[in-house]
Each structure stands twice: as C-alpha cells, then as structure tokens.
Amino acid sequence: MTLFFSFIRRAVMQGVPLLYGSTGEIITEKSGHLNLGIPGIMYMGAIGGVIGGFFYEQTGADFGLWYVRLFAILIALTCSLVFSCLMGLLYCFLTVSLRANQNVTGLALTTFGVGVGNFFGGSLIKISHADVPTVTLTKTSGCFAKHLGFVDSVNKAAQAGKCPQILAELCQTVFSYSFLAYLSIIIALVAAHVLMKTRTGLTLRAVGEDPATADAAGINVNRYKYVSTCLGSMIAGLGGLYYIMDYASGVWSSDGFGDRGWLSVALVIFSLWRPGLAIIGSFIFGGMYIIHNYIGGQKLFFLTIPKLSMQAQELFKMSPYVMTLLVLIFVSIKEKKEALPPAHLGQNYFREER
C-alpha cells in the first residue's frame, strides 16, 4: 500500500513538467501554431530559473530570512518566464510575422533552446568565474520544493501511531507537493475554462480553426497568435523550472530533462487538445515513465508480475508514445471533429493568399 502511494506521488511529480508543457502547447496549438520548439522552450525555462537563482545565491543572501526566500523564488520565476517568453516571441516573429515554416522554426528553436540550456548549465561557473564546484542550487531549490507543513506533522503522528497510516499516506499523496505542482493544475484548469467557457477562448479557437473566418469577424488574428504563443511558451517554461527546482533539487545535469518536452507534445495529442484531460494524462504519462521501478514481484490475484529487467524499462518508457499514436490513429479514423487537431494547425495565415 505504501508502495502504491509512493508510486502515485512519483507519477504526479513526473507528470507536472509534462502538464506545464502540454498546457502551454495546447494554448499555442489552439491558435493554429504547431510549436515544436516546446522542448527547447522548457529547457530555456529551466536554465532561466537556474541562472537567476545561481546569481542570487552568489550574492550570499541569507536564506534564513523569509523575504530572501520569497525573493529567490520571484527572481528564479521571473528569469524563467522571461527566457521562455523570449523564445515564444522569437517563434512568433518568425512564423507569424515572417511566415516561416512552423516545423522548421520549431525544430530550430528546440535545438537552440536545448543548446542554451546545456551550455549555461554546464558552463555557468566558468563564465561567471564563481567559486563553486557545481551548479547546485540547493537553497533556491529548497524554497521551491517547500510543501505544506502539516503533512509532516500528520506523518509524525502516524508514525507515533496516533492516526491511521492510510490517512497519513493519503494526506501525503494529496498535499505533499510544492506550489508549482499545484499551480500547474490550477493553470490547466484555468486554461480549460478559458478555452471552452469564455469569449477569449472562443476567439482563440476560431483563430486556430479558420483564421480567415476569424479575420472576417473582425478579430485581430496576429495578436491572438502572438499572445497565445508567448503565453503558452511561458507556461511551458514553468515546466522546466519545476523540473530543475523541485524534481532535480536544483542540480543541473546535461540533458537531464531528457525527452520530456516531446512527451509534452505527445500529451497534447493524447489529451485531445483539452487541458483538463491533460491533467489526468500527465499523471498517466508520469506513471508510465517510472512504473518499472514499482512493479515486479507483486501478486495480482493469481498472477505474479515478474520483476522488470533494465531493458523492459525502456519499453515501458515507450508506452506514452505508443498510446499517443493509438489515440491519434483512433481519432483520425473516427473523424470525430472535436478530437481532431485545430483545422489550421501548422499553416500560417496570410490574408491576401487566394
């Protein structure tokens, strides 16, 4: 039972960066732009936070003070948002204003973003001539990873036998995450609400479905594309920030973020362009990513699940992509219109084109 709850917790923590990434990408794609730069943007979000946090820590501020901690969070957060927003702006400038091919621009953005991330992650000390052996932002990370205090006390109580173990586990599973994890869910829910229940959402969806119609209805198509892409990039960037500050405890390792960016893109398809579904999807994907650590040896009714070998883990890591493919195939065969990508996804809009 403990194992099960710890699995859920790990799955959620794995899922949060994906959720940020896919919420951001959904918002972008709803405006008709397939931003394949998302993996790069998430790297940028991460490195932005690292750079901000690194230099703040270098000032030698006393992290014992609450306002210093708050400040650390704000600085890292701001840097992260600025970095990813700049990437979004670059993508918009190239694809919306200059009408460059979206796939090519996105891929270039990914190469660039991953490069920037790894470069600064690996060379920050050298560049800044700082006197530390590695980029390890334990203090800043500590601020980000802070979770609600009462979870620990419930835990202690359970250990002391004052309350049932299951309650402590439940409590931990629901409340033990850092604020960025909760924020990801809130953002996804807000995005779901805005997309489906507000005028802004309606307009945005119209832009992605048929920009010419939106244009004829007096909507400023380019503005919507810019805003949604930049906003989407910023949200995706937070995914990188969460990964580095909470999941990786502030330790940068080259390519440590892995293919989570692409998983986010996959999750967009898997969740049928709905941020609400993406919440559940992100936890499923997160679970897939780590399930190999948890299964094996247990008895499921009368079947004993064999212990997974190292290689089988790799196959398990494949499952999110396979599931996404199946969803993609299924909806295209079923031709359920709501589940299809926005009709103008990947195509630039040029009003005078006939």
Binding site: R199, L202, A206, E209, D210, A214, A217, I219, K337
Partner: protein
C-alpha cells in the same frame, strides 16, 4: 431595353413602405479591376420594408456591386447613401456599423463550433454567457420563423441550416439592410420556399433586403422591385408587379452583339460520345446531375449553357473520369478501331489506356489543368510524361511542344521555364488549350475557356476550337456568354439545376422571341422528371435539327412554366 426606359423606371419607382428616404442608395457607382469594368454607373435604392432583386447573368457585376456595399471592395467613384446621408464603407467593420449585413455564397463558419458560437464570434458585448446568447438566437428564430437548434454543430448541418446561421449572424448584429448573394443556389425548392417566407417576414419587420439571383421565377415570386445589370452596366429598375419574365429576360440578356465568330457546317457528323442517364451526387449527397443524356458528335461544337453551378463542372468531370457516378453510361465510339468503350467510373489513366483520346480544359486552370509553380515545359509533360519507356523523363518532346505553342499561339512569356502562375490569364489559357489540343484529341471538353481573357486571346481560342472541329473532333464547350455560344456552337444544350432543360439549334431563331431569350428561359426553367426525359429523348435527334425540332423543345418548356405557376409566371406572391 433602352436607357430612357431604364431611367424612367427608376424615377417612377414607388415607395412601397412609405418611408421618405431609401435605407440605402447607390449613385453612379463605378468599379474597375485593371482594364475590366466590373460596374459602371450603377444606381440603386432600397427602402425599408422592401425586397430588391438584383438580376443579371454571370459576370454582370452583381457580386462586385454587393461587395462594395459590404466593404470588401471600395468603389472607384460614386456615392453611397444610408438613410439619406452619404457614407464611406471602407471595410466590413464599417458595413457592420451602418447595419449592413451580407450573406455570402461561401459560408464563413467554423465547423466545430455550434450555431450560437459562430453567431457571437467576434462580438464584444460584455459577459460571455452562452445560454443567454442561445436564448437570443431562439428569439430571432421565433420572430422570423427560422428552424435552427442553437446548440447544433456546424458540421452536422445541412447547407440550408448553415445559411440560416449566416443570416442569423447578421441579424444578431442588428443588421437592417440585408444582402443575400445567390442564397438559393445551394437550396432545394422546399428550402427555398422556406427561406422566402423568412425573407418576407423580415421585410414586414421593416428590413431592407437585397437579393442577388439569376433565377427569374424567384425574382417574380419574392421581390418588390428588380434591378437589372448586364455586363457591368446598370440597365434599370422595375417594379415586379409591372413586369413579367419575358421583359426581364430581355433586359437581362441585352441586345444581341454580333461577334462575327466563324462557324462552319459540321462535316459528316457521327456519334462520338454517348451519355445516357447520368446521375451524380456531390459530397453533401445532393444530386448535382439528374438523368443527363446526350450525344456529342464528331466535327461539331456542342455548347453547354446554364447558370453557374447547374452541373456543368460535374458533367465534364464525369466524362473525364473525375467524378463518381450514381448511375448512367458513358460510351465512347473509337473512330480508329470502331469499338465502343465504356468510360463509366474509370480513372483518367484507365481512360487513356483504353486509347480514348479525351482532352479536357477545366475551369480551374491553375488549380487543376496546370501546375502554377511549374514552367510551360513541365506543364506540357502533365499529359505526356508517362510516354516513353524507362524511368526517366523525356523533356525534349515537351520542350519542342512548348516552343511550338509559344510561337503558334503567341504566348507572352520570358521563357518556357517561367512558372505559368506568373503569366497573364490569357497566356495561361493558351498554354492549357494548346497542350490539350496537342494530344490530337477526338473529344475535346472546354470549360469557360475565355473567362477573364481579352478579345484577342478569346478569338485565338475560338479559332483553335474551330480548327479542331474541322479536323473532326467532337467539342463540348461550356460557356457563359450566350452571344459566344450562339455564334460558335452547332448545338446548345441547356442545363438547369443539374438537368437538361433543352437542346437548341443556334442557327434557328425561334418564333416570338430571340434565341437568347429562349436560352435564358431554358436556363432558369425547372425541370421535373418527365421534362428531363423529353430532353433526353430529343438529344437523340440528329444534330442539325430543323425548326420543327426546336419547336418540340420549346413546347414542353412553356407547358412546364405554366404548370408551376406559383413559383413562376406573372402571378404576384
């Protein structure tokens, strides 16, 4: 009709609703596109509580005129008055502000949205409250008698429902001047009747309504006044009650223009292509070809007339192997082998492999007949690239063909490799027709070959067609200019909403009316099943019909007109 009558008609226009100033008035509007005059000196006025029909053939400038009112184009000169005050309409937004709503032929709707979502898209009126919007949509539906579920998705809708959404969209925005661009073109007769009921209710509600159409019986049934355009010029406005179909036709087709196109007598015509009982449905499952039967003969030009969208494209594409047929037979009589080949539901390649030399100049020149981004040489290869053994393309033959076409037809192009997209319309057409003729066809189908072309290019095309005819090619010519059809063709088959409404011999003038008027009437005639059969039978008759044959053509037509009096004829609605 002379200019004098026209102006007097305008002056005598009664004010149906009694309001002192017209809701919208156009004075002396002129619009040109390059050299082409789309509208010249147009005067129009519509009062509130009035339905004005704008009548005119294809290309008479109706849509251009309406686009100027709705802010899509801006007139070169002239004045627009709304409620007596001069206004400038520079953009669709301006038009909205003056409460002008236009319902285009192409629906601008988003498939995955509901009706209501489409209706309120782009509006900004406070809180976004879908249920309230739906309520308002229902209210509008109730007021004018629309039948529409506000929650239905567009992709689940029929064409007429989509049109309803478009109309409600403009009503929702408070439009009180409504312009409908050929609203009935896509509707069934029942849907048309329902639409007209709605429009009448709107008129009674005090809206000014302009409806563009070229269907005479609809004009008679619906409108209070009719304004007629012909070739971009304003002919006049008449009160519907004081006119009849014959008079309107006369105004619409204008006087016969002598083009002096050379026409030779067909030399020993034999059946080349026999079409029997063709039925075809479009993607929406609506029948676009109904029981089409005719015979195209060698050495003659068979003209096909009809208002746009009467099934001309589908007919040619069926023969070319690009449409799936519901039923019917297409038989080709091969002149070299004397064999009959069945072309039904064969792909263009299969048709070619049967040895059928069928050439087709489609209406969509750069989208279908040619590849815009390729040069003339590569476009020549479209037909011939497969010829020759082996894996490689042979560009020598196409290159010499390209050079030949460039010099023979005087194609103006920097060189044979310039993308054809960059050539002018006339030169594009010369390239296309040149290529199709170069394959020495036995059947040549051309769709609107002179559309957008200047006089010289047009005559080059006519000359080419006549040359082919004299070589014994069977030519099927889909055209829109009746003058051209009458002077060029040996027989004219008239299509009306997917059925054959008659086959006319252009050498013979019918009694009591001009040939143009006869064709004009046939074009808008409603054909029921029996009438279609009659037409089918008559098509079996020899090509050079005597006047008696034509008479039998007209008789069912006039009978028919009589039968369908409620929608037709001189009765007021």
């Amino acid at each position: 009709m002379s200019e004098q009558t026209a102006s007097s008609a305008t002056a005598a226009t009664p004010n149906v609703s009694g309001s002192p100033v017209p809701a919208i008035e156009l004075r002396n509007i002129t619009k040109t596109f390059g050299e082409v005059i789309a509208n010249q000196g147009i005067n129009l006025s519509v009062y509130r509580g009035e339905i004005l029909s704008i009548l005119g053939e294809n290309g008479s400038g109706k849509t251009t005129l309406m686009n100027m009112i709705s802010g899509i184009y801006f007139p070169d000169s002239g004045h627009i008055f709304i409620d007596g005050e001069e206004v400038l309409i520079r953009s669709p937004k301006d038009a909205f502000r003056y409460k002008i709503g236009m319902i285009h032929q192409h629906f601008k709707l988003i498939d995955v949205f509901t009706a209501t979502e489409n209706i309120v898209l782009g509006l900004n009126d406070g809180r976004y409250d879908l249920p309230a919007y739906e309520e308002r949509v229902r209210e509008i539906c109730g007021r004018y008698g629309f039948v529409l579920d506000p929650k239905k998705k567009i992709y689940d809708m029929s064409v007429s429902e989509k049109q309803t959404v478009e109309i409600i969209k403009v009503l929702y925005r408070g439009a009180d001047i409504l312009i409908l661009d050929e609203p009935t073109a896509v509707l069934t007769p029942q849907e048309t009747d329902r639409l007209f009921d709605v429009l009448r209710r709107m008129r009674d509600d005090g809206k000014a309504i302009i409806i563009i159409t070229h269907k005479l019986h609809e004009v008679m049934a619906l409108s209070d006044k009719v304004a007629v355009l012909c070739k971009g010029r304003y002919i006049g406005t008449v009160v519907t009650k004081e006119t009849n179909e014959a008079k309107l036709t006369e105004m619409m087709v204008g006087e016969k223009v002598d083009l002096n196109i050379h026409r030779s007598e067909p030399k020993n015509p034999v059946p080349r292509l026999i079409v029997k009982g063709l039925n075809c449905k479009n993607e929406d499952g609506i029948a676009v070809l109904k029981n089409i039967s005719f015979t195209a003969q060698s050495g003659e030009i068979l003209g096909i007339a009809g208002i746009a969208g009467s099934g001309q494209r589908e007919l040619l594409e069926s023969i070319a192997g690009l449409q799936r047929l519901e039923s019917g037979e297409i038989t080709y009589m091969n002149p070299s082998t004397e064999k009959e080949e069945n072309l039904r539901n064969k792909s263009p390649r299969q048709i070619r492999e049967l040895g059928v030399r069928l050439s087709f100049v489609p209406e969509d020149r750069l989208g279908m007949g040619l590849v815009g981004n390729m040069g003339i040489i590569d476009n020549m290869m479209l037909r011939s690239y497969e010829s020759g053994r082996g894996f490689f393309l042979n560009r020598t033959a196409p290159a010499s063909l390209a050079d030949q076409i460039i010099s023979d037809l005087q194609v103006v192009t920097p060189n044979a490799k310039t993308p054809v997209r960059r050539l002018s319309g006339g030169n594009v057409q010369k390239v296309l027709v040149g290529r199709e003729i170069a394959s020495a066809p036995t059947v040549l189908m051309v769709a609107y070959p002179v559309r957008g072309l200047d006089i010289n290019s047009s005559f080059t095309i006519y000359r080419l067609l006549n040359e082919q005819k004299e070589k014994g090619v069977s030519i099927i010519f889909v055209g829109e200019d009746l003058d051209v059809l009458i002077e060029l063709c040996d027989r004219i088959l008239v299509l009306s909403s997917g059925s054959i409404s008659g086959i006319v011999d252009p050498r013979v003038t019918p009694e009591g009316m001009t040939l143009k008027e006869q064709i004009g009437l046939l074009m808008t005639k409603k054909v029921d099943e029996t009438a279609a059969d009659t037409a089918a039978d008559s098509s079996e008759k020899p090509a050079v019909a005597d006047s008696a044959a034509v008479q039998t053509e007209i008789t069912p037509a006039s009978e028919n007109g009589g039968k369908e009096a409620p929608n037709d004829g001189n009765q007021e609605s």
